[in-house]
Symmetry: C2
């Protein structure tokens, strides 16, 4: 018998916001407590086709399943009418090694777990009365981060900073249609919001630390490879609290690593993001806080397991 | 549309000896010439279930496809009536990143490419008139290596050395039924054959270098993790020619690495196995030669690509 393959439509039906938030919260906490296994990812580059492939595996200790996720990005695909992103998730029994199912999710679960992690950590680290939200970038994660965070706390205004004025305006219109007050903003104005989320593939910082106000929380989710960099080192120097979703990964290829290499903070200057989800913590009102999220394989495992549990009902 | 899943029976029909030998020969040669991409494998351990998972990716430069292979070994499965080995091969387009197919081969292709690599290299490196073959181990690879090598050259006698007398006798009977002259042998006698193949999961050497005669060729295929070790370092010290299927892998977790760390040979003392398949080479009749094969992801890619080409006909 070959393992069942579930398509994106079936997966989307069961991968509800509540299911993904619960799975990601639990997995981040488990990861912070060392109750996960996340081997270094496997990478392949395809320079001739402007493509890359990442393979991530993850396991939450004691879980029935683990996952191996294949994610490709081939950036000339749109010219041929194809999506850039492809891949799938194999769910494997941690008891027998049998492949239980293949989730042909077209990247849906990665998008949702990234949105969930960003929203959960931003909500946990921002001041309770933080109300204005700025998002850098106009892609899928800009949309998702705003939507998922708005599900966790009220947002008074959404400021959007993008490189392309047309896309920026269009995204503001989408947010407005969803009931938000939203408008385009300069990088300087956006950096002055109560909560700042960066969701870009930038290779140099998208904001200046001097424009970030006391009491602000900043979450960067775009820096997932060594050549990328969204947040400036001196923002980390100012931060009273730095959270990373995975210490080693963020050191290797996150904004935290850039800051450490620039001497703006020490290599032990971060806390595991999941710890901040595991109960209340003291946050000085005037403190600047920063979260660097690079994506953890254990989150994929937790979400895929939860999805498969629903699909198998 | 979800990618098609092909089962082991469909794959077995098209993965003929000729198809696998051709694909493996070409891939070993390409690998020796640096025309492949093989990132370091990803490993997961499951100590509670006595299990492990290896994920290997590979690409032959210029090929249409690459592969990501998931292979698990859960060694308590037989008690539950299950096979130890599970896994599958994802064939992905190297042009678009789309998953083209899933080969649910139950380890069949790995077994066959391992058999092909062992047989090709042993045939290429043994003296032309080498006739007696000893095999250490009584598992699937012991069977396959003998069968595939016998397809490439005549074998006068097969000596089998195993830890379990019953299994050793049973394997000899199988070989006899296939038309071979076969009998159990001590480690000392087996090490004295013209061609020696080791196919065990041993963690300490299965033969002594002093029992290996001038002119003998030895191929080790069982050492695929750092704690495993089939061939003694002093065999490498005696060898006039050492071939490795992948220099870095063999240095990291092959018998070659054990020999280098023991000071029996230098870290640059090996040649790429594929070079020896790419035309005749001078082999002194009295020389001892050794091949250390750890399994290369590019071979998986080549075999899976060739299989998918046939399945898609």
């Amino acid at each position: 018998m070959t393992p069942p393959v579930f398509d994106a439509a079936a997966i989307e039906r069961v991968a509800t916001t509540d299911l993904v938030l619960d799975a990601v919260r639990d997995a981040l906490i488990a990861h912070a407590k060392g109750q996960t296994t996340v081997p270094p990812p496997l990478h392949l580059q395809f320079p001739d086709a402007d493509g890359d492939c990442h393979v991530k595996a993850g396991l939450v200790t004691g879980a029935h399943d683990f996952t191996v996720k294949i994610a490709t990005g081939f950036y000339r695909n749109p010219a041929a009418g194809l999506s850039c992103q492809h891949g799938l998730v194999c769910v494997v029994s941690a008891r027998t090694g049998q492949v239980r199912a293949i989730l042909d999710d077209k990247g849906l679960l990665t998008s949702r777990r990234t949105a969930a992690a960003g929203a959960l950590i931003t909500h946990a680290m921002a001041r309770p009365n933080a109300a204005t939200l700025a998002v850098f970038g106009t892609g899928e994660q800009a949309r998702l981060q705003v939507a998922w965070l708005a599900g966790l706390r009220p947002i008074s205004t959404v400021l959007v900073h993008g490189r392309h004025p047309g896309r920026t305006r269009a995204l503001c219109e989408e947010f407005t249609a969803q009931g938000h007050r939203a408008r385009p903003a300069s990088a300087e104005e956006a950096a002055g919001a109560d909560m700042v989320l960066t969701t870009t593939p930038a290779t140099s910082p998208v904001l200046q630390a001097v424009h970030v106000r006391p009491g602000t929380h900043v979450t960067g989710i775009g820096t997932d490879m060594p050549h990328k960099n969204e947040l400036p080192p001196d923002l980390f120097a100012r931060a009273a609290l730095i959270a990373t979703d995975d210490h080693e990964q963020c050191l290797d290829h996150g904004d935290f690593g850039h800051a450490v290499r620039a001497g703006a903070t020490t290599a032990t200057g971060d806390l595991p993001a999941g710890l901040l989800l595991d109960g209340p913590f003291a946050r000085p009102d005037e403190a600047v806080t920063v979260a660097d999220l690079t994506g953890v394989g254990a989150l994929d495992a937790a979400v895929a397991s939860a999805v498969l549990r629903e699909l198998a009902r």
